[in-house]
Symmetry: C2
Subunit: 274 residues, 2 copies
C-alpha cells in the first residue's frame, strides 16, 4: 500500500493516521469498504461503488456511524482521489492500480495499492477452482450483501479461493469475487439472495445484458449443475473478469476467451460511465 | 475508554496508537478479542480468556498474524495489566472495571473502560428478552466459536439483544452473552456446535457443575422448549450473570434469584482461579 492516503478528502500519510479515529471499525468491524480499479488516473465504476457504500450505510444506520453525506458524493470522492494521486510522485495523475474506500467511525479513508500484488497473489488469469466451502452462507443472509470491514469469514477463505455454497448446495460466490457460469446457452450468476455481494462488475455485466452472444442472467445455480458448465469466469472490480480453465476437476478451455469478452464488455461500460 | 493502554506489554496512550500497526484487524477484522472483568485490580478468569485467544489464533494460523507466544503468557499479560493500571491515576492498582485484549497484526492491545457503561447500556439486572433473530447462525458455523474483531453481525444486533437461533430453530446465544435456561430440573445451555461462543463464564459454570442445586448441562435447546422454561439468565465475562425476568413474553420471576446464585458461583470460581 502507498503511504499517501486521503481521510475525508484531506491528503495524509498512512503512518500518521491514529487508531482512535477508526476505533469502531477496528474493534467491531463496524464499517464498509469497496475496492476499485484505477486506469491511468480514472477510477472505474466509481458511481456504482459509492452507491453500494451508501446503500450499506443506509441498511445499518445504528451499527455504523456514517460520514457526512457530502463526503461520499461522487464529485467529492473524485476530487479527493485526484488530489491523493497528484500529491505523491510514486502515484501521479496517470496512476494505474487499485483504490480502496473504507468507511467507519464517520470517516472516509481512501488508500492506493499496486495492481501487481492482487494479480501475483490471487487473480492470475487461468486460475483453477477446485475447492468448495459447503454451506458457508445461508440464503438471504443479510451481511453478505454488504462489504463490511468485518470481512473475516471471507478473508479466512481467501488463500484457497473456494466456491462458497449455501445450505441448499447452491453456488453463492468466491471469497472476493462473483461467479459466472456458461450454462444452457446463458451466462448465469447467482442471485443476491444466494447470498452474494452485489459486485460492481457483476452489476455492470447484468446491465450490459450479453457477453459473447450469451444473455447474462441471475439464476439459482445448484452446485450439481456445474458439471454441465461450458465455461466459467469470476468477476470483481479489480481483476474485472478472470477465466477459470478448470472448475472442480472439469476442464473448461473456453473460459479464457469468455473472460476476455467479459473484460471487453466491462472496459467499454466503464468508459461510458466515467 | 481510558487513555492508558498497553501494546505488547508497553504502556502507551490510546491517542498515540497508529492505524497502520493494526491494519489487518481494521481492514479485514483479522484478529480476535476478549473482554473481562477487573475487580479491585484482579482480572477475573484471565487464564481462561488467554486460552481462548490462543485457541482462536491456532484455529486460523494463516488468516490472523499471531503475536509472539510470550506476549500471551499469563504472567506477561498480568504484568502488563498491572503496569497499565499503575501508570494512570484514573485507574490505579485497585481499579474495578472492564479490560479488553485485542490481538491482530502480531500485536496485543489491552484497553480499559468503566463498568458503568456496559451496565447502563445493556446489562442492567432484570433485562427483558423479547426478540428472536431466527436462523442467524448455522449449526457448527466455525467463526462464531471465535470472538473475532470481525464482530459485525453480533454488533449490528446488539441494541435489540435478540435470542439468536440457527436454521433448525434451536437457541444459540445472545449477541454478547451465552444463555442458560432452567428446564426439566436442569440448567441448560446450548452446545458450542449450536453454534455459540465458548464464553468464559459459561465454561466456568459448566465446570462448577451445579447452580442452586441444579445440574449445569450443555444440551440442544429448541426455541419451542423455552415455553417450558422456569428461569433464565445470560452470562458473559463482564456482567457474569444477568437475570431475565421476562423471556419472549413469559414472566420468569425466579430468574433474578437464579442469576444471583450463578454470580456467586462465578465469583467463588474466579477467586479460586486467581
Amino acid at each position: 500500500m502507498f503511504s499517501t492516503v486521503c481521510v475525508d478528502g484531506v491528503v495524509q500519510r498512512w503512518e500518521d493516521l491514529r487508531l482512535q479515529d477508526f476505533a469502531q471499525g477496528f474493534f467491531f468491524g463496524a464499517g464498509f469498504f469497496t475496492t476499485f480499479r484505477i486506469d491511468a488516473g480514472r477510477p472505474l465504476f466509481l458511481s456504482r461503488h459509492l452507491a453500494r457504500l451508501r446503500a450499506s450505510l443506509d441498511a445499518f444506520p445504528v451499527a455504523v456511524r456514517a460520514p457526512a453525506p457530502a463526503l461520499l458524493h461522487e464529485d467529492a470522492v473524485r476530487d479527493s482521489l485526484r488530489r491523493g494521486l497528484e500529491a505523491d510522485p510514486l502515484l501521479g495523475p496517470r496512476f494505474t492500480g487499485v483504490g480502496k474506500l473504507a468507511v467507519s467511525d464517520g470517516r472516509v479513508l481512501c488508500t492506493f495499492r499496486a495492481l501487481a500484488q492482487d494479480f501475483d497473489d490471487l487473480h492470475r488469469e487461468g486460475r483453477v477452482l477446485d475447492s468448495v466451502e459447503p454451506g458457508a452462507y445461508r440464503r438471504a443472509e443479510r451481511t453478505v450483501n454488504h462489504k463490511g470491514l468485518a470481512w473475516f469469514r471471507q478473508h479466512a477463505l481467501l488463500p484457497r479461493l473456494p466456491l462458497i455454497t449455501n445450505e441448499a448446495d447452491e453456488v453463492c460466490e468466491l471469497p472476493t469475487a462473483n461467479v459466472f457460469v456458461q450454462l444452457d446457452g446463458a451466462l448465469v450468476t447467482p442471485p443476491l439472495t444466494a447470498p452474494c455481494l452485489p459486485g460492481v462488475a457483476r452489476a455492470a455485466l447484468l446491465d450490459a445484458g450479453t457477453v459473447d452472444g450469451l444473455p447474462v442472467v441471475e439464476r439459482v445455480v445448484p452446485l450439481a449443475d456445474l458439471s454441465r458448465a461450458q465455461g466459467c469466469f469470476y468477476s470483481n472490480a479489480v481483476a474485472l473478469a478472470v477465466g477459470v480453465p478448470r472448475l472442480l476437476g472439469q476442464a473448461l478451455p473456453g473460459s479464457l476467451r469468455l473472460a476476455e469478452r467479459a473484460r471487453a464488455v466491462l472496459e467499454a461500460s466503464a468508459l461510458r460511465e466515467a
